[in-house]
């Protein structure tokens, strides 16, 4: 009888621990960094030769996606003087780490070859250059679409990273 009771008790405690685990897991997630606005610096590709249309497409898509889903009150462009006086500003510097120019023709004909991929190191810093978050983000186009579609893929992923790690001070 006493043995049954202790077994039931241990079972109960185990269930409690298992039930409480997700709550602890949520708490252990790092808190989002408060940022009201973000300034996007032009994509840098000093080491890797990147066609100018890719560089511009990456930059424009990044700004568009950050405006759409980044969760910031304002997205400033490279050099925008209005960003100078903004409190809680985050600066995003992106450097191309890898680039493979695929071939749309090959993709359509073979469906397995001709993939375009681009890897970019994203560094979120404070205005004084202190690093807040660094992550490599890649963009790919495997089957359909032109090579520049890889830039759209990258921008969506980078905006998602920003959304996951930063939040507006007003809680939006």
């Amino acid at each position: 009888m006493k043995r049954d009771l202790s077994t039931a008790m241990s079972l109960f405690v185990t269930i409690l621990i298992l039930a409480a685990f997700p709550l602890f897991a949520e708490r252990s997630q790092p808190a989002k960094i408060k940022a009201a606005a973000i300034q996007v610096v032009m994509i840098q590709s000093d080491e890797i030769k990147l066609p100018s249309e890719f560089q511009i497409s990456l930059y424009e898509n990044l700004i568009r996606q950050l405006e759409k889903q980044g969760g910031f009150q304002h997205v400033y462009r490279d050099g925008d003087r209005n960003a100078a006086n903004v409190a809680d500003l985050v600066v995003l510097r992106s450097t191309v780490r890898g680039f493979k120019a695929g071939n749309e023709e090959k993709r359509k004909v073979t469906t397995v070859a001709g993939k375009t991929s681009i890897t970019i190191h994203c560094q979120f810093t404070s205005p004084d250059g202190k690093s807040l978050l660094e992550q490599d983000v890649n963009g790919k186009v495997r089957f359909f679409g032109g090579n520049l579609r890889a830039t759209y893929d990258f921008a969506k992923k980078a905006a998602h990273v920003a959304h996951e790690n930063f939040s507006s001070p007003d809680g939006k």
Partner: protein, 177 residues
């Protein structure tokens, strides 16, 4: 006789070609050029078709009844390059992928060469923008030369001929009407 005649026709053809070719080149550089705006101009949809011209120190993109003016002096970098695009349209190309016996894939092999023109410019607040256009082969070089002649900058030329521009450049204007 026949030999002299042949020589005459050959010389005449050469003279005629000499007269026509420069005219053809000058037509590419002046007047509006049919382009596709891939991305970058504020308020203009991606893949919008229109014409691009350089007049009064401005790069003008006309799309339907609307136009977008960009001051040549606001352009920081301008790059022209060759590219290729699928001859059949996007929709037809996508639908044709379902065609039997790889017919759609066969269609995708037909490609047209195009020129790509990329322009980096600053708005009135100093914000950097980038725009990409595609146009018929040979047209990008003409537009680039005209813009450079009217005050636009390009990174490659500046590196070779002039010291880097100072950070106190006057703000440039971007207009859309």
């Amino acid at each position: 006789m026949s030999h002299r005649r042949r020589t005459f026709f050959f010389t005449a053809a050469l003279v005629f070609a000499g007269m026509v070719v420069p005219t053809g080149n000058s037509q590419q550089t002046s007047g509006p050029v049919k382009v596709v705006h891939l991305t970058g101009l504020t308020g203009v949809k991606d893949d919008a078709k229109g014409t691009l011209s350089v007049e009064n120190s401005k790069l003008r993109f006309v799309h339907g009844k609307e136009f977008f003016d960009l001051s040549a002096t606001s352009i920081e970098d301008i790059v022209g390059g060759a590219s290729s695009k699928q001859s059949v349209g996007k929709t037809v190309g996508a639908i044709s992928m379902a065609a039997p016996y790889g017919g759609g894939r066969f269609l995708s092999l037909f490609r047209t060469k195009v020129d790509t023109l990329t322009v980096q410019y600053r708005d009135a607040d100093g914000g950097l923008h980038g725009a990409i256009f595609t146009m018929p082969v040979g047209a990008a070089d003409g537009i680039k030369k005209e813009l450079l002649a009217q005050g636009a900058h390009t990174a490659t030329t500046e590196q070779q001929t002039a010291p880097p521009a100072s950070a106190t450049n006057p703000p440039n204007k971007e207009q859309k009407q």
